[in-house]
Amino acid sequence: MSDQRQAWFARVVESGLQNEIFNPADVLAHATPDVLANHLPPELLSKVLAASLAAGAMTPERVLETVTPELLAKHLPHEVLWACIAAAAARAGVTNVVVS
């Protein structure tokens, strides 16, 4: 069940990005550096930093090029991902969830 849930969150995040429901900046608004630092494994953090150094900049797009939705769903708490998804859906007007 955990694998399916992980796969589903990965799929939803990927779909949200592809369909422009939210963008990488929205993801990083929830997946903050603190969250990333506390949940991403060291080798993944290392890769992110290496890519940014090569490009000369660290942008949200470049971060998500390294930390793909599958990796986000694998390492980050799903509540964080869901908060990102729900907030984006609310902005898109497709949700009737009352934000408490």
Partner: protein, 271 residues
């Protein structure tokens, strides 16, 4: 921003991965919602599938309609509610509150209206039995038969008075114009009820009408003679005349008298 595609991915992925179930979908996409938003061709497909299936459940409905069609035609907030339920359950949280829940309408809107009562058919009448008349005997309205193409026309003409019993038409104001010019009958104040007195035409009793000179036969006498012709008259021998002997003695004049009066029809009147 392609919201539909995102919803398709999210809901379809949940169903494919077993995160969500078709029951989760129908909890929000109720039959009433489907009835309001699903196009008729998709309804036809759904009904066909349900009729051909041995068991109708949520999976059949969702599989038949398809997630893309659901996300295409259903309101996005409803699809999102499905997705939110799935996410909340997977995260171990209670289902998120929706605006409908906040308004207090916790009753699911999936309650179907009860099916209508079956049409009552009249009780079958046994062959040969006479139906009992309950109400007044009202002749049935004329129904144009298929083999009588002019039935409608005839019916209209009958109703207009063209055929059959003529209908009494209301009297038009111009119908009495000739009488008004001479007798002033029918004017506004008098009307047709005020008529001049007229002499009665009762027959007079005990007075015979005057006879004209051209009348030959008295009616009463004619009746009497007719009665005599029918009777057998009793005659004495003394009343009989031996006319043959008289004729011989009378000569030619008596013969002429006899021959001149050979009609015995008025015998009784001569006596």
């Amino acid at each position: 921003m392609n919201t539909k595609a995102f919803l398709i991915d999210a809901l379809g992925g949940a169903l494919e991965l077993g995160i969500g179930t078709p029951e989760d979908v129908l909890r929000h996409v109720t039959p009433d919602v489907l009835a309001a938003h699903l196009p008729r061709p998709l309804w036809a497909r759904l009904l066909t599938a349900c009729l051909g299936a041995s068991r109708v459940d949520a999976a059949l409905v969702v599989d038949t309609i398809g997630v893309p069609n659901l996300c295409e035609h259903m309101p996005a907030p409803l699809i999102w509610a499905c997705i939110a339920d799935v996410a909340a359950r997977s995260l171990g949280k209670p289902a998120p509150l929706t605006r409908a829940d906040v308004k207090g309408s916790t009753r699911p809107s999936s309650v179907l209206a009860p099916p209508p009562e079956p049409a009552r058919s009249p009780a079958p009448v046994a062959a040969g039995s006479t139906p009992v008349a309950i109400g007044p005997s009202i002749p049935p309205a004329p129904q144009p038969a298929a083999n009588q193409p002019l039935a409608d026309l005839i019916t209209e003409l009958e109703q207009d008075g063209g055929l059959g019993e003529p209908k009494v038409r209301p009297r038009s104001p111009t119908a009495s114009r000739f009488r008004q010019s001479n007798t002033s009958i029918g004017r506004g104040t008098l009307g047709s009820a005020a008529r001049r007195p007229q002499a009665s035409a009762s027959p007079t009793v005990g007075r015979t009408p005057r006879r004209s000179g051209t009348e030959v036969e008295d009616p009463a006498t004619a009746v009497d003679s007719a009665d005599w012709r029918q009777r057998e008259i009793a005659v004495d021998d003394s009343q009989l005349v031996d006319w043959q002997a008289d004729g011989a003695g009378a000569g030619s004049s008596g013969s002429n008298a006899v021959t001149g009066d050979d009609d015995f029809g008025d015998l009784g009147r001569k006596r």
